[in-house]
Symmetry: C2
Subunit: 235 residues, 2 copies
C-alpha cells in the first residue's frame, strides 16, 4: 500500500498572511502526520497562533507522543500562553505504521470527511477548538489502513465559501461528486475543492482556505518516497 | 515568481529504515526551507542521528534563526550529545522572502549544484559534516531570487551509485543533460536523478539516496500553495 497526501491552500483576499498553517512530519515509529491549524481572526495575529499550535503538535509527534495527547498539550499550551482568550482549530491526519491505522484528530467545529472509496462518512461529532478551556479533548476517529480510504479535512473558509453571495458551498456533495471519478488523486481532490470554493467567492476568498487530503491506495510502481511543494512568492 | 521543491528518496537495499531525513518548514518571515541530513552509517542509528539534526535545524529556523546559525547549533548539539564520535551531513536549501534570496547551506563533503537555467555551477568548496568538532561552520551560497535558478542537493548515496559495478554515476553530467530539457519540473529532475542512480545500482541501492531540487520560475497560474507527499507503506 501507499499513502498520498495533498494540500491546497490560499489566503483571504487582500491579506498578506494566511492565518492557516499546515506542516507535515515523519513519525518516529514510521508513518506520517499532517497538522492543520486555523488561528482565530486573520492576518499576522492568526498566523502567530496557528504556527504556535502546529509547532507544538509537530514537536510532540516527532517525540513519539500520540496524536490525542499532542492535541491536548497544544490546547493547554495556547490556553496558558494567552489566558484562554484566543482559540485555534486543529486537525491532525496520521498514518501510524505501528498500529497500521489512519487517525483523524479534530479540535474543530467544522466537520471532516472519511471515505471508503465513494462511501462517505461525515465526521461531525461535537468538537471544540483548542486554547479556550483547560483540558480540551479532541475527537479521534481511527480505522485500519486499507486501500480506498480517503480522509479530507479543511478549515472553515471552505464551508463559508459563497455565503456572501447567497450560494454557499455544499462540501459533502462536492466531495461525493469528486469521489465518483475513477481513482481520483489527492491533489485533484484538494485542488478541485479549493477551485470550487474560489469560484463561489468570485476569486476573492472571504477567509483563508486550506484543504488536506490523505488517500491510501495499493502500491503503484516503485518504492521511492516523494514530496513536492509549490510556493507562489508574491513578487 | 514561484518556488517549486521536489524530494525523491529511497533507502539502502534490504534495510527497514533510511538514515536520511528530509523535512520542509515554513519560514516565519516568509519563504520555505528544506532540510536534509544523512546520519553516519545506516539503519536505525543513522536515522536517530539525522532526525536529531533535522529537528534541531527546523526548530531554530521556525524561530527565525538564520540558516548558518541553525547549522552551527545543530553541529554543536550533536557534538555535545555524542561527544564528537558521530557525524551527519547537513544541507539546507531556503527561499528567504526577507532578503529575497536563495540560500544553499552545506555541511557536507559531497558537492551540490546551483544552476542558472542550463548554466551549472558546482558547489564543492571544502565542507565538513556536523557533530565531529566544536564550532563547525557551514559553507553558504546566497544568490538573489530570479526565474531559472535551480538548486540541487543530495546525499552521498547518489555519487556512490554504480561504484560497486565499476560504472559510477557522473552526477553533474546527468544534471546537465536533464537541464537541457525545456523547463524541466523539479519532480522530473529529482526522479530522473534517482532513477539513474537506481539503474546503476541494479535496483539494489548500496546506500540511502535522497535528492532535493528547488527551482524558481515565473508564476504559472494561480496563487494557491500546494504540497503533495507519497509514502510507500511497505505492507
Amino acid at each position: 500500500m501507499e499513502a498520498q497526501i495533498a494540500v491546497a491552500k490560499i489566503r483571504k483576499y487582500a491579506t498578506s498572511n494566511s492565518g492557516d498553517t499546515v506542516e507535515v512530519v515523519e513519525r518516529p515509529q514510521g508513518g506520517v502526520s499532517v497538522v492543520l491549524a486555523d488561528g482565530q481572526s486573520s492576518g499576522r495575529g492568526a498566523k502567530w497562533i496557528s504556527t504556535l499550535v502546529v509547532r507544538k503538535v509537530i514537536s510532540l509527534l516527532a517525540d513519539g507522543v500520540r496524536d490525542g495527547a499532542a492535541a491536548r498539550a497544544a490546547s493547554d499550551s495556547l490556553y496558558t500562553e494567552r489566558g484562554g482568550k484566543v482559540s485555534a482549530t486543529l486537525n491532525i491526519v496520521s498514518v501510524d505504521m505501528q498500529t497500521r491505522t489512519l487517525l483523524i484528530t479534530r479540535n474543530n467545529p467544522t466537520s471532516a470527511v472519511l471515505a471508503d472509496y465513494d462511501e462517505i462518512q461525515t465526521l461531525d461529532e461535537n468538537s471544540k477548538p483548542v486554547g479556550l478551556y483547560r483540558d480540551t479533548r479532541p475527537v479521534i476517529n481511527e480505522v485500519p489502513l486499507k486501500p480506498g480510504l480517503t480522509a479530507i479535512v479543511y478549515t472553515d473558509g471552505l464551508i463559508h465559501a459563497g455565503k456572501r453571495y447567497g450560494d454557499p458551498m455544499d462540501v459533502e456533495a462536492c466531495i461525493k461528486t469528486l469521489l465518483d471519478n475513477e481513482d481520483p488523486s489527492p491533489q485533484y481532490l484538494a485542488d478541485s475543492l479549493l477551485d470550487h470554493a474560489l469560484k463561489l467567492d468570485e476569486n476573492r476568498p472571504v477567509d483563508d482556505i486550506s484543504v488536506v487530503v490523505l488517500r491510501v491506495s495499493r502500491l503503484s510502481g516503485d518504492d521511492v518516497r516523494r514530496m513536492s511543494v509549490r510556493l507562489p512568492l508574491g513578487f
